[in-house]
């Protein structure tokens, strides 16, 4: 085969591939979502989204990252819709003109988990007492450290406990990774961490119900973890598909989707509790 023939052959193949890509990307109804690691890691979206696609004919693609980065992706118009869990940050987001409609769709709660031996004896304490004990004992604590919704809440809790953010302490480990990854780091290093209950149940499920880390602190009002769908402000992002985003928001709040969220269980436990109004 001559070089010329080979080159033209390659060019032809490339052209076909390029055309195929463009054809596939045509005017199909497609929605791009940025979401938190908890909705993805738990398997909720894998379970829920096929129903959404079947009922509405909209293809939903999602990338899972921390809430902080998800909000940033929306601000830069790289996605069309957000499913996040940091209410104060979400409200500021709307005030700044990046987001438009915010719809609360479900919640669970944050818990502090740690080794059964509980080296800092935090079991049963209030959240502020527990964090103070962790600090005094210098017990290993894994933080997401990624400005995610969970991380934002955790930082707030340190502030409330009056200990200040232990940013540079040797016992404060910032993983910079997703929730399930961070729980696994905590397990490997026998440390404490804060997680949403959904991801914790998923972790328990993966460990065959015999997880070495157990829930030690729970039940405070401040530990409520609210998830909301946020549409983007067309004034900031004209390119974002606002109508499809609204369709998704409405669907998530619909009776059938809410029932499906309630039915999503692992080890017989609910991971998320629907609460759309």
């Amino acid at each position: 085969m001559t070089v010329k023939k080979m080159t033209s052959g390659l060019l032809a193949v490339m052209l076909v591939l390029a055309l195929a890509t463009f054809a596939a990307a045509g005017d199909k109804k497609e929605l791009m979502m940025a979401t938190t690691t908890s909705t993805d890691n738990t398997g909720l979206l894998d379970y829920l989204i096929p129903h959404f696609e079947k009922e509405t004919g909209i293809t939903l693609k999602w990338t899972s990252t921390g809430t902080g980065k998800a909000l940033k992706l929306g601000q830069n118009c790289d996605v069309d819709v957000l499913l996040v869990h940091a209410p104060p940050a979400e409200k500021t987001y709307i005030e700044k003109g990046y987001g438009k409609e915010r719809r609360e769709v479900m919640y669970n709660d944050f818990v502090i988990i740690g080794p059964k031996a509980d080296p800092a004896s935090i079991s049963g304490k209030t959240i502020s007492e527990a964090l103070t004990a962790v600090k005094t004992e210098g017990a290993l604590f894994m933080s997401r450290g990624d400005d995610s919704g969970t991380n934002k809440k955790e930082k707030l809790l340190w502030k409330n406990a009056g200990t200040g953010l232990p940013d540079k302490e040797a016992w404060y480990v910032q993983t910079g990774q997703g929730m399930l990854a961070t729980i696994n780091v905590a397990q490997e290093r026998n440390g404490y961490t804060m997680t949403d209950r959904g991801t914790y149940i998923k972790y328990q499920d993966q460990q065959g119900g015999k997880a070495p880390l157990t829930v030690l602190v729970e039940g405070d009002d401040i530990l409520l973890n609210q998830y909301s769908v946020l549409t983007l402000n067309p004034k900031n992002c004209a390119s974002a598909k606002h109508d499809l985003a609204l369709a998704f928001s409405n669907w998530m709040a619909s009776e059938s989707a809410q029932k499906r969220i309630a039915d999503f269980r692992l080890l017989g436990q609910k991971l998320f509790i629907p609460n759309a109004k």
Binding site: V3, T7, L10, L11, V13, M14, L17, T21, A25, M32, N41, D46, K61, W62, T63, S64, T65, N76, C77, D78, Q177, G178, L180, A181, N184, Q187, Y203, Q206, C237, S239
Partner: protein, 228 residues
């Protein structure tokens, strides 16, 4: 330890059963790497040949820059491409963030210096006597270039294989630019990173084995090509 063995069994199981997410990761990996290899070969081979064959000013400096680019970290390429194709970036209007073509752009930037540098080295090392012999036989400039090209065909193959190895196994670009979207931009390497993060080692190992199988298949077919 048992997850090493179970990973191996799972790999076979995933492939045989035709697991949708595994096959979509295989397909995403192949698509992105094929596009990037084609573009980097089409641009890198002529550049590498010119760089090795002709003498010009600043040739040494160009080589130094090129050799430095061989050490290009994938996360830097990822960052660069991300900034370029994000909606707010200079190429934002094409909407290529979180797509396979976006990943392919990054991988092309990764592969181009490898193809160019290796090709240039090989062309530089063509026996000087060959050119002299050709000239003395009365060959024209075109014939000399064509003969040189034919002489270095196996070297070019080596350049392609090396670049393909890097493209196939990179994870930084795919993760940052592709966003690890299931059924769309989740490649084998980003899937492995995810499974490891989730603590699902067996699944990760299974995918690793699949990746090695692809690399083996490519090299096997190339070695047939070399024999003929």
């Amino acid at each position: 330890m048992e997850y090493l063995a179970s990973g191996f069994i799972k790999a076979v199981e995933l492939l045989v059963r035709g697991d949708a997410s595994t096959w979509s990761a295989v397909s995403a990996t192949l698509q992105a790497s094929t596009w990037s290899m084609m573009v980097s070969l089409l641009t890198g081979l002529p550049c590498g040949f010119a760089l090795g064959y002709f003498d010009f000013r600043f040739k040494r400096q160009v080589r130094t820059v090129l050799d430095t680019l061989l050490a290009l970290p994938t996360v830097c390429v990822g960052l660069l491409v991300y900034a370029l194709i994000s909606s707010r970036g200079p190429m934002g209007e094409f909407g290529m963030l979180f797509t396979l073509p976006g990943i392919a752009i990054g991988q092309t930037i990764l592969a181009f210096p490898i193809v160019t540098a290796i090709t240039a080295s090989i062309v530089e090392n063509i026996d000087h006597d060959l050119k002299l012999t050709l000239v003395s036989l009365g060959a024209g400039k075109k014939d000399i270039i064509a003969t040189c090209l034919w002489e270095v065909r196996y070297g070019i193959l080596a350049a392609a294989v090396t670049a393909y190895g890097r493209v196939l196994t990179e994870v930084g670009i795919s993760m940052m630019v592709g966003g690890n979207i299931k059924y769309h931009t989740r490649t084998i390497t980003t899937a492995i990173a995810l499974e490891t993060n989730k603590g699902m080692f067996a699944d990760g190992i299974a995918l690793g084995i699949v990746l090695m199988a692809i690399a083996f298949g490519v090299n096997l077919s190339l070695s047939f090509l070399r024999k003929r």
